[in-house]
Protein backbone atom coordinates (compact mmCIF):
# COMPACT_ATOMS: atom_id res chain seq x y z
CA UNK A 1 0.00 0.00 0.00
CA UNK A 2 1.45 3.34 -1.04
CA UNK A 3 0.84 6.71 0.49
CA UNK A 4 -2.66 7.99 -0.17
CA UNK A 5 -3.32 9.32 3.30
CA UNK A 6 -6.20 6.88 3.77
CA UNK A 7 -8.37 8.91 1.41
CA UNK A 8 -10.44 7.17 -1.23
CA UNK A 9 -11.38 9.22 -4.23
CA UNK A 10 -13.22 8.39 -7.41
CA UNK A 11 -10.74 8.42 -10.30
CA UNK A 12 -11.87 8.33 -13.91
CA UNK A 13 -9.36 7.67 -16.66
CA UNK A 14 -10.69 9.02 -19.95
CA UNK A 15 -9.16 7.41 -23.02
CA UNK A 16 -9.96 9.03 -26.35
CA UNK A 17 -6.98 8.08 -28.49
CA UNK A 18 -6.21 5.04 -30.62
CA UNK A 19 -3.23 2.81 -29.79
CA UNK A 20 0.14 2.71 -31.62
CA UNK A 21 -0.34 5.95 -33.62
CA UNK A 22 0.72 7.74 -30.44
CA UNK A 23 1.91 6.66 -27.00
CA UNK A 24 -1.02 8.04 -24.98
CA UNK A 25 -2.90 4.72 -24.78
CA UNK A 26 0.13 2.79 -23.53
CA UNK A 27 1.21 5.42 -21.02
CA UNK A 28 -2.37 5.80 -19.80
CA UNK A 29 -2.44 2.08 -19.05
CA UNK A 30 0.82 2.45 -17.12
CA UNK A 31 -0.80 5.08 -14.88
CA UNK A 32 -3.82 2.85 -14.31
CA UNK A 33 -1.61 -0.08 -13.24
CA UNK A 34 0.54 2.01 -10.89
CA UNK A 35 -2.55 3.76 -9.57
CA UNK A 36 -4.10 0.42 -8.62
CA UNK A 37 -1.69 0.20 -5.67
CA UNK A 38 -3.35 3.26 -4.11
CA UNK A 39 -6.67 1.47 -3.68
CA UNK A 40 -8.77 4.27 -5.07
CA UNK A 41 -12.20 3.88 -6.67
CA UNK A 42 -11.14 3.57 -10.30
CA UNK A 43 -13.20 3.65 -13.49
CA UNK A 44 -12.00 3.70 -17.08
CA UNK A 45 -13.92 5.29 -19.95
CA UNK A 46 -13.19 4.64 -23.61
CA UNK A 47 -14.62 7.29 -25.91
CA UNK A 48 -14.08 8.29 -29.56
CA UNK A 49 -10.93 6.63 -30.99
CA UNK A 50 -10.17 5.36 -27.49
CA UNK A 51 -12.53 2.43 -28.14
CA UNK A 52 -9.93 1.10 -30.61
CA UNK A 53 -7.65 0.38 -27.64
CA UNK A 54 -9.92 -2.51 -26.70
CA UNK A 55 -10.20 -4.04 -30.20
CA UNK A 56 -9.49 -7.76 -30.12
CA UNK A 57 -6.91 -9.52 -32.32
CA UNK A 58 -4.29 -6.77 -32.22
CA UNK A 59 -1.11 -8.04 -33.84
CA UNK A 60 1.91 -5.75 -34.02
CA UNK A 61 4.47 -8.15 -35.51
CA UNK A 62 4.59 -6.15 -38.71
CA UNK A 63 5.32 -2.76 -37.13
CA UNK A 64 8.05 -3.64 -34.64
CA UNK A 65 6.10 -2.27 -31.68
CA UNK A 66 5.06 -4.13 -28.55
CA UNK A 67 1.48 -5.36 -28.54
CA UNK A 68 0.31 -4.10 -25.16
CA UNK A 69 -3.33 -5.10 -25.57
CA UNK A 70 -2.94 -8.28 -23.42
CA UNK A 71 -2.25 -5.98 -20.48
CA UNK A 72 -5.91 -4.91 -20.47
CA UNK A 73 -6.72 -8.53 -19.56
CA UNK A 74 -4.71 -8.11 -16.36
CA UNK A 75 -6.78 -5.17 -15.12
CA UNK A 76 -9.26 -7.52 -13.44
CA UNK A 77 -6.45 -8.92 -11.27
CA UNK A 78 -5.75 -5.37 -10.09
CA UNK A 79 -9.40 -4.93 -9.03
CA UNK A 80 -10.04 -2.62 -11.94
CA UNK A 81 -13.31 -3.87 -13.32
CA UNK A 82 -15.34 -0.76 -14.10
CA UNK A 83 -14.60 -0.29 -17.76
CA UNK A 84 -17.10 1.84 -19.64
CA UNK A 85 -17.26 1.97 -23.41
CA UNK A 86 -19.18 4.75 -25.13
CA UNK A 87 -21.82 3.04 -27.27
CA UNK A 88 -22.07 5.96 -29.72
CA UNK A 89 -18.32 5.92 -30.39
CA UNK A 90 -18.36 2.15 -30.92
CA UNK A 91 -21.31 2.23 -33.32
CA UNK A 92 -19.91 5.16 -35.29
CA UNK A 93 -16.87 3.00 -35.96
CA UNK A 94 -18.91 0.04 -37.16
CA UNK A 95 -17.98 -2.00 -34.09
CA UNK A 96 -19.92 -3.88 -31.44
CA UNK A 97 -19.07 -5.47 -28.10
CA UNK A 98 -18.09 -8.67 -29.94
CA UNK A 99 -15.22 -6.82 -31.62
CA UNK A 100 -13.68 -5.94 -28.25
CA UNK A 101 -11.48 -8.06 -26.00
CA UNK A 102 -13.43 -10.08 -23.48
CA UNK A 103 -12.20 -8.43 -20.29
CA UNK A 104 -13.29 -10.12 -17.08
CA UNK A 105 -12.71 -10.13 -13.35
CA UNK A 106 -13.39 -12.55 -10.52
CA UNK A 107 -16.08 -11.25 -8.19
CA UNK A 108 -14.87 -11.96 -4.67
CA UNK A 109 -18.36 -11.20 -3.32
CA UNK A 110 -19.88 -13.86 -5.54
CA UNK A 111 -17.72 -16.93 -4.97
CA UNK A 112 -15.10 -15.60 -7.44
CA UNK A 113 -17.45 -15.96 -10.38
CA UNK A 114 -15.98 -14.64 -13.61
CA UNK A 115 -17.83 -11.51 -14.74
CA UNK A 116 -17.43 -9.09 -17.65
CA UNK A 117 -15.59 -5.84 -16.84
CA UNK A 118 -16.81 -3.91 -19.87
CA UNK A 119 -20.14 -2.09 -19.83
CA UNK A 120 -21.53 -0.36 -22.88
CA UNK A 121 -23.00 2.99 -21.87
CA UNK A 122 -25.09 5.58 -23.69
CA UNK A 123 -24.41 9.32 -23.52
CA UNK A 124 -26.73 9.89 -20.57
CA UNK A 125 -25.17 7.06 -18.53
CA UNK A 126 -21.65 8.21 -19.36
CA UNK A 127 -22.44 11.82 -18.46
CA UNK A 128 -23.91 10.66 -15.15
CA UNK A 129 -20.83 8.55 -14.45
CA UNK A 130 -18.51 11.45 -15.17
CA UNK A 131 -20.42 13.65 -12.80
CA UNK A 132 -19.72 11.29 -9.88
CA UNK A 133 -15.94 11.59 -10.19
CA UNK A 134 -13.48 13.43 -7.99
CA UNK A 135 -10.53 13.27 -10.37
CA UNK A 136 -10.63 13.00 -14.15
CA UNK A 137 -7.36 12.07 -15.84
CA UNK A 138 -7.50 12.56 -19.61
CA UNK A 139 -5.27 10.85 -22.13
Amino acid sequence: MEEGGGVTKKFLYVNRKAPYGSIYALESLEVVLIGAAFEQDVSLAFIDDGVYQLKKNQSTDGIGMKNFSPTYNALGDYDINKIYVDKDSLEQRGLSLDDLMNLTYEDENDNYAEKPSISLVNSEELAALMEQQDVVLSF
Binding site: R16, Y24, M130, D134, V136, S138
Partner: protein, 101 residues
Protein backbone atom coordinates in the same frame (compact mmCIF):
# COMPACT_ATOMS: atom_id res chain seq x y z
CA UNK B 1 -20.68 21.40 -11.65
CA UNK B 2 -18.04 20.16 -14.06
CA UNK B 3 -15.71 22.48 -15.95
CA UNK B 4 -14.93 21.08 -19.39
CA UNK B 5 -11.83 22.49 -21.04
CA UNK B 6 -11.47 22.10 -24.81
CA UNK B 7 -8.20 22.96 -26.57
CA UNK B 8 -8.87 21.60 -30.05
CA UNK B 9 -10.29 23.34 -33.09
CA UNK B 10 -13.63 21.68 -33.89
CA UNK B 11 -12.39 21.48 -37.48
CA UNK B 12 -9.49 19.28 -36.39
CA UNK B 13 -11.03 16.80 -33.94
CA UNK B 14 -14.44 15.96 -32.50
CA UNK B 15 -13.38 16.93 -28.94
CA UNK B 16 -15.84 19.83 -28.79
CA UNK B 17 -18.70 17.76 -30.20
CA UNK B 18 -18.11 14.89 -27.77
CA UNK B 19 -17.69 17.35 -24.91
CA UNK B 20 -21.02 19.01 -25.67
CA UNK B 21 -22.72 15.62 -26.10
CA UNK B 22 -21.59 14.57 -22.61
CA UNK B 23 -21.80 17.90 -20.77
CA UNK B 24 -24.80 18.14 -18.49
CA UNK B 25 -27.10 21.04 -17.82
CA UNK B 26 -25.41 23.64 -15.62
CA UNK B 27 -21.87 22.67 -16.61
CA UNK B 28 -19.28 25.16 -17.85
CA UNK B 29 -17.13 24.87 -20.94
CA UNK B 30 -13.91 26.79 -21.53
CA UNK B 31 -12.49 27.01 -25.04
CA UNK B 32 -8.74 27.73 -25.11
CA UNK B 33 -5.67 27.18 -27.32
CA UNK B 34 -6.97 26.08 -30.76
CA UNK B 35 -10.33 25.40 -29.12
CA UNK B 36 -11.09 29.12 -29.37
CA UNK B 37 -11.88 28.74 -33.09
CA UNK B 38 -15.11 27.08 -32.01
CA UNK B 39 -16.17 30.33 -30.34
CA UNK B 40 -16.06 32.54 -33.41
CA UNK B 41 -19.13 33.69 -35.31
CA UNK B 42 -20.05 32.34 -38.71
CA UNK B 43 -18.45 28.89 -38.57
CA UNK B 44 -20.39 25.71 -39.23
CA UNK B 45 -20.28 25.02 -35.47
CA UNK B 46 -22.14 28.17 -34.46
CA UNK B 47 -25.53 26.41 -34.27
CA UNK B 48 -24.04 23.67 -32.09
CA UNK B 49 -22.60 26.24 -29.70
CA UNK B 50 -25.77 28.32 -29.63
CA UNK B 51 -27.81 25.23 -28.80
CA UNK B 52 -25.35 24.16 -26.09
CA UNK B 53 -25.64 27.58 -24.46
CA UNK B 54 -29.24 26.86 -23.57
CA UNK B 55 -27.93 24.45 -20.92
CA UNK B 56 -24.26 25.27 -20.41
CA UNK B 57 -22.22 28.37 -19.94
CA UNK B 58 -19.48 28.77 -22.53
CA UNK B 59 -16.32 30.78 -21.96
CA UNK B 60 -13.37 31.58 -24.17
CA UNK B 61 -9.84 32.35 -23.04
CA UNK B 62 -9.47 35.83 -24.54
CA UNK B 63 -5.64 35.84 -24.75
CA UNK B 64 -5.81 32.73 -26.97
CA UNK B 65 -8.62 34.24 -29.07
CA UNK B 66 -6.76 37.50 -29.58
CA UNK B 67 -3.48 35.73 -30.32
CA UNK B 68 -5.24 34.16 -33.30
CA UNK B 69 -6.35 37.46 -34.80
CA UNK B 70 -9.84 37.68 -33.36
CA UNK B 71 -11.51 40.16 -31.04
CA UNK B 72 -14.32 39.86 -28.52
CA UNK B 73 -16.81 41.16 -31.09
CA UNK B 74 -16.07 38.11 -33.28
CA UNK B 75 -17.55 35.87 -30.59
CA UNK B 76 -20.86 34.08 -30.89
CA UNK B 77 -23.35 36.04 -28.78
CA UNK B 78 -23.53 34.73 -25.23
CA UNK B 79 -19.98 33.41 -24.98
CA UNK B 80 -18.12 35.02 -22.10
CA UNK B 81 -14.45 35.94 -22.07
CA UNK B 82 -11.95 35.16 -19.32
CA UNK B 83 -8.22 35.73 -18.83
CA UNK B 84 -5.94 33.28 -16.99
CA UNK B 85 -7.12 34.61 -13.61
CA UNK B 86 -10.68 33.95 -14.76
CA UNK B 87 -9.64 30.46 -15.88
CA UNK B 88 -8.42 29.81 -12.33
CA UNK B 89 -11.73 31.07 -10.93
CA UNK B 90 -13.64 28.70 -13.23
CA UNK B 91 -11.54 25.78 -11.96
CA UNK B 92 -12.01 26.61 -8.29
CA UNK B 93 -15.75 27.19 -8.76
CA UNK B 94 -16.21 23.73 -10.29
CA UNK B 95 -16.24 20.34 -8.59
CA UNK B 96 -13.98 18.71 -11.19
CA UNK B 97 -12.19 19.63 -14.38
CA UNK B 98 -12.41 17.44 -17.43
CA UNK B 99 -9.87 18.06 -20.15
CA UNK B 100 -10.94 17.06 -23.67
CA UNK B 101 -7.53 16.42 -25.21
Amino acid sequence: MTLHIVNKSPFETNSLETCLRLARSGHCVLLFEDGVYGASKGTRFEALLTEAMQNCKIHVLLPDFEARGMKADNLIAGIETVDYLGFVDLVTASERVQSWL
